[in-house]
């Protein structure tokens, strides 16, 4: 009976399979974010780790709770909820109470992703939806920045981190203004090397610019990242800032300060590039990126808030379907010069 291996193998197409799965792409981004995450924990102490864990837990628990019973395992296994939770956590102030971070994670997944129909259906970046909700809900806690932990205080957990659910946090650590806040309200610039190395005040994951770039280079090599989006954002921010600097060097920050301060690198490299909420066509991607860049500078310089990356990305997210629609390439052999 034994006829050995068949000589002709019949198989339905597709015959070539790509190795890239959702799970692999998410894992790549998680890996790319690790250096910046570890740096954030190093700079802000164990409190930052607790905040990150709370937001990840909120995201994962919500994903589990609202997935159909039979799909729970596979939904969690693609790591998208984990990544959303981590991205949200990286944009939170290090002294935020854990219960707020947990709530933010739950809102990210619940209102940012699942309510739209799940992975791939959402209009807005889920992590930023969670952050926008938290900023509108707890404006004071979301803009209280703790200074970096002093030597030997790595394991000290601030009392605000452990605040009881629904209760006000009490701050016992040293608070400080972010470089952008200093720039906007006191016109004090911060040394560029401090900004790039991460030795400044801000959200957990946004301070270490060089490590964020390192992670993005890994993603570029793995081809998980659309290079057009970060390039478009960085170039448009730099050009716009340079123009402003030329018009009045006393009032406006320079291009390098604009790029390395606040959440710009985190947003441009990891959030605006979310394949679900950014346009598909190359032309559309450029429009999207330049729009984000211009909005960031507009909000930072002329708006009420010191930071505008989140609102810029969310606004351009909402324009994504429109951009996609107007930048569709002509299908070969169909249609004339105009539709």
């Amino acid at each position: 009976m034994n006829r050995g291996e068949p000589k002709l193998r019949l198989q339905a197409s597709p015959l070539l399979r790509q190795q890239l799965t959702t799970r692999q792409a998410m894992l790549d981004v998680l890996l790319a974010l690790m250096p910046a995450t570890l740096a954030g924990i190093w700079f802000f102490g164990i409190s930052a780790l607790l905040v990150l864990s709370a937001s990840i837990l909120g995201a994962v628990v919500t994903e589990w709770l609202f997935s159909p019973a039979g799909y729970r395992g596979s939904r969690l296994n693609d790591y998208s909820a984990l990544l959303t939770g981590l991205l949200l956590g990286l944009t939170l102030p290090p002294a935020l109470p854990m219960w707020m971070a947990f709530l933010g994670g739950a809102v990210s997944i619940g209102l940012g992703k699942l309510i739209w129909g799940g992975l791939g259906q959402n209009l807005f970046n889920p992590a930023l939806v969670g952050r926008a909700f938290l900023l509108a809900t707890f404006p004071i806690a979301m803009t209280t920045w703790s200074a970096q932990s002093a030597p030997g205080e790595f394991f000290r957990i601030g009392s605000s981190t452990l605040a009881m659910p629904f209760m006000q946090p009490g701050y016992d650590g040293v608070t400080a203004a972010t470089p952008l806040g200093l720039m906007k309200f006191e016109r004090v610039s911060t040394d560029l090397w401090l900004l790039a190395s991460g030795n400044s005040t801000g959200c957990i994951g946004e301070t270490s610019g060089l490590l964020l770039i390192l992670g993005a280079v890994y993603l570029l090599i793995r081809r998980d990242l659309d290079w057009r989006i970060p390039t478009g954002i960085l170039v448009s921010v730099a050009l716009f800032s340079a123009l402003l600097l030329l018009s009045d060097p006393e009032r406006y920050p320079g291009p390098l300060f604009s790029i390395f301060s606040g959440g710009l690198l985190l947003g441009a490299l990891y959030m605006a590039t979310d394949p679900v909420t950014s346009p598909l066509t190359p032309t559309g991607t450029w429009i999207f990126a330049v729009g984000i860049g211009l909005l960031i500078v507009l909000i930072r310089v002329f708006g009420g808030f010191p930071e505008g990356v989140m609102y810029a990305i969310l606004l351009m997210n909402s324009a994504t379907p429109l951009i996609d629609r107007y930048t569709q390439p002509r299908v070969f052999g169909k249609g004339g010069s105009s539709r």
């Binding site: 109470p97 404006p139 209760m167 006000q168």
Partner: protein, 216 residues
Amino acid sequence: MSRRKEDPHAEFIKGLWRDNPVFVQVLGMCPMLAVTNSAINALAMGGATFFVLVASSFLVSSLRQWIPRQVRISTYIIIIATFVTVTDFTLEALAPVVHKELGAFIPLIVANCMILGRQEAFASRNSVRLAVVDALGMASGFLFALFTLGAVREILGEGALFGVSLFGPDFEPWVIMILPPGGFLTLGLLLLFFSWLRERKQRLAIRLEELEAEPK
């Protein structure tokens, strides 16, 4: 037109739950979102709407033989506006603080599509008794919805209900809840919850039918 059997009980329950004007029909959204930032405002608005709806339904139903078809909408509006004016002045006399909070939204009850809808769809073609029961049901449903929304928003937004603090002075208020986005968020989540309840009930009914249809 065949005479339907009058069932006042069913007409009442319909407005309160099955055809709830807010959670099921999604009518009257403007006052729903604008004045529900606290439980007391929501109750006042619900009470005012309650009175206007029941009184106009009664009058429209009593006059239904004499209202000419061509001008029926404007007639309903005049009747509704009369009762709204009565409510407006009464509220201003009895509770000036609440009246000031509600502002333009009391006169705007005239334009509440739920009230006009009940006149056109129900009061103008049913007996006075049924019309009043229907109005009572719909108005209770509206009041119930307004109160639910107002209570949720006040509890989360200020940690209080009817101005009485629930969690002590250390409560961290959810600022968004008393702002307009909080109204939209809460309403959306409540609609989601009621749709889920409805769908679940339908699923159960289908399952039950299947079980009964199965041969023993």
